[in-house]
């Protein structure tokens, strides 16, 4: 019996020839990740284990990105605790404010995560790296602590769902965000609970690396354990200048077993908008109706990459942000920020009337830099629209791709980019 890419990576890291869904296995991990919210809890648990050092100074990665640059005194204390720990243990992959980025944009960019890896991160969007053909999943702080100490983690081998996106050509202004929102709208926020979501098909093969990151990023919003895309020439092109250590390419066997196979035709998929208060509440842009907005957020670990900024700029060019709207743009990393400057995108955003921030998770989780008041509405390229996620419990978040978020910022209501062309 063949294996899926997920099963192969897990088997290899458990020292096994073969694994089956449902089996409990102990895996070696290549990277253990934490941030300024989750790492402080993990560090407290790590100290209880009583080992002097982390298992590998290069494989424990700590990023201050959630409430940083420190938004208040308590956040500063948490960031300091993490910084002190990184110094004490001589961690080579600690990235300070000014050199950092949103963790899930930064790690692939810096070549820290590579195809074939097993990665755990105390952040639910750690599933992003599956776009490179790695097994990558979110865990809590205690699992992170155990991983930091032992270099190992236990998993139940998940069943896999295969999503086949047929058709070569995406509709105009459709991106990876729309494909994943469409799938979540179809199967629901627990449609892939505990399962691996494997994205395949011609439309995935022709999707950019940035679009693939966006898709794998939101596997968790369907309850998935991981999202994964088999590596190909697009992956190789992305990692060739970034990889500084060996990596391994895995693909699913033709006779691999799937719990389900779900097929979509991308010709049916137009830009999607997820209405409050769950990512599964999706509608195509043509059925949105009139929804006025107060804010538009472009960025995050879901859509803060250079391609996302280019798309937003293309829509905003020659337009001004609506007088009643705050547009806030968050490049995912310093590298992305610099690239956007070189291409003139930052100037374009500012000229259009938008604010551009240093990289931070910021408003995505209601931290800072764009919090909503009671009754306010935001269109956002982030990943969650739960009650209170971006501020007041009576505010509303609508999720979309960067093109829709940019067009909405211009018109003051949720709109597709075709309306401003």
């Amino acid at each position: 019996m063949g294996m899926t890419i997920t099963e192969k990576i897990l088997a290899a890291h458990a020292g096994r020839e073969h694994v089956e869904p449902g089996e409990l296995i102990n895996c070696k991990v290549d990277i253990v990740l934490g941030n300024d919210i989750t790492a402080p809890v993990a560090i407290r648990e790590f100290e209880k284990i009583g080992v002097p050092d982390v298992f590998d100074k290069e494989k424990v990665v700590l990023i201050p990105d959630h409430f940083t640059p420190n938004k208040d005194i308590k956040s500063a204390e948490q960031a300091k605790l993490m910084r002190d720990f990184a110094k004490k243990h001589g961690l080579t992959n600690y990235f300070e404010v000014g050199r950092m980025g949103i963790e899930h944009c930064l790690l692939p960019e810096q070549g820290i995560v590579l195809p074939g890896d097993v990665v755990i991160g105390a952040d639910s969007h750690t599933c992003t790296y599956g776009a490179l053909g790695a097994f990558s999943t979110g865990v809590g702080s205690t699992d992170m602590a155990a991983g930091m100490a032992s270099g190992e983690v236990w998993f139940k081998v998940p069943e896999s769902i295969k999503f086949v996106f047929n058709g070569e050509q995406l509709n105009e202004w459709v991106s990876g965000k729309d494909l994943i929102l469409y799938a979540i709208g179809d199967i629901g926020v627990d449609g892939a609970l505990y399962e691996a979501m494997e994205f395949t098909g011609p439309a995935i093969r022709s999707l950019s690396m940035d679009g693939r990151f966006t898709m794998a990023n939101m596997a968790i919003e369907a309850g998935g354990k991981n999202g994964i895309i088999a590596p190909d020439e697009v992956t190789m092109e992305y990692i060739k200048s970034r990889a500084k250590r060996p990596y391994k390419l895995y693909t699913s066997d033709d006779d691999a077993k799937y719990e389900r196979v779900i097929e979509y035709d991308v010709a049916d998929i137009e830009p999607q908008v997820a209405f409050p208060h769950l990512p599964e509440n999706t509608k195509p842009i043509s059925e949105v109706g009139t929804v006025e907005i107060d804010q538009s957020i472009i960025g995050s670990c879901t859509n803060g990459r250079i391609e996302d900024l280019r798309i937003a700029a293309k829509v905003l060019q020659g337009h001004k942000v609506h007088p009643d709207v705050r547009l806030v743009i968050f490049p995912g990393t310093q590298e992305i920020y610099k690239q956007a400057m070189k291409e003139g995108l930052i100037e374009l955003f500012i000229d259009a009337g938008g604010a551009v921030s240093t990289p931070t998770c910021g408003p995505c989780l209601g931290g800072h830099m764009g919090i909503l008041a009671k009754g306010e509405r935001s269109i956002s390229t982030t990943n969650r629209n739960f009650v209170g996620r971006m501020g007041h419990p009576e505010s509303e978040i609508y999720l979309s791709n960067p093109a829709v978020a940019a067009a909405s910022a211009i018109l003051g209501r949720i709109a597709g980019p075709k309306e401003v062309e």
Partner: protein
């Protein structure tokens, strides 16, 4: 392990932002987090909950973020146990890792109304609705999870392995 308490009932897909909004995550102090427990699902919950109370919820409880602060704040608020139709996977792992008992039982969730007095026999996976005089079986806890519980949580488990 046995618990008995009043029940509070919630719907499906209670996410971790509802359990503990991120705006309070600039601390990891359990007592501070408990003051805002379930606040965005029921603003009065932190004032109403009493030690030993049990949460009953629909499918996919704890979906969303990986924040361990979610089970930590429930435990610190005195919630003895959560019974749901299903749990999101990171929340499920986290609860075992920090020692918050959770049980999966769609029948129990349908058979318990808010305010019912419920007794839970965690080891045998039996849930008694004392108000209505009914009982329900929960999905068995996987043997490895039982091993974690017996070891006193993941940290003790790992400590033993690394020193063994």
């Amino acid at each position: 392990m046995e618990f008995q308490g009043r029940t509070w009932k919630f719907g499906a897909d209670v996410d971790t932002d509802a359990i503990i909004p991120a705006r309070y995550l600039n601390t990891s102090d359990p007592g501070e987090l408990a003051k805002h427990c379930m606040e965005d699902a029921d603003p009065e919950f932190p004032n109403k909950v009493r030690p030993g109370d049990i949460i009953i919820a629909g499918k996919n409880f704890g979906c969303g973020s990986s924040r361990e602060h979610a089970p930590i704040c429930l435990k610190a608020a005195g919630v003895s146990c959560v019974i749901a139709k299903s749990f999101a996977r990171i929340f499920y792992r986290n609860s075992f890792n920090i020692g918050l008992p959770i049980l999966e039982s769609p029948q129990a969730v349908d058979g318990i109304d808010e305010g019912d007095e419920v007794k839970v026999d965690v080891n045998n996976g039996v849930i008694y609705n004392l108000t209505k005089g009914t009982s329900f079986k929960s999905t068995a806890i996987p043997p490895f999870m039982q091993e974690l519980i017996d070891a006193g949580g993941l940290i003790n488990f790992v400590r033993r392995r690394l020193k063994g």
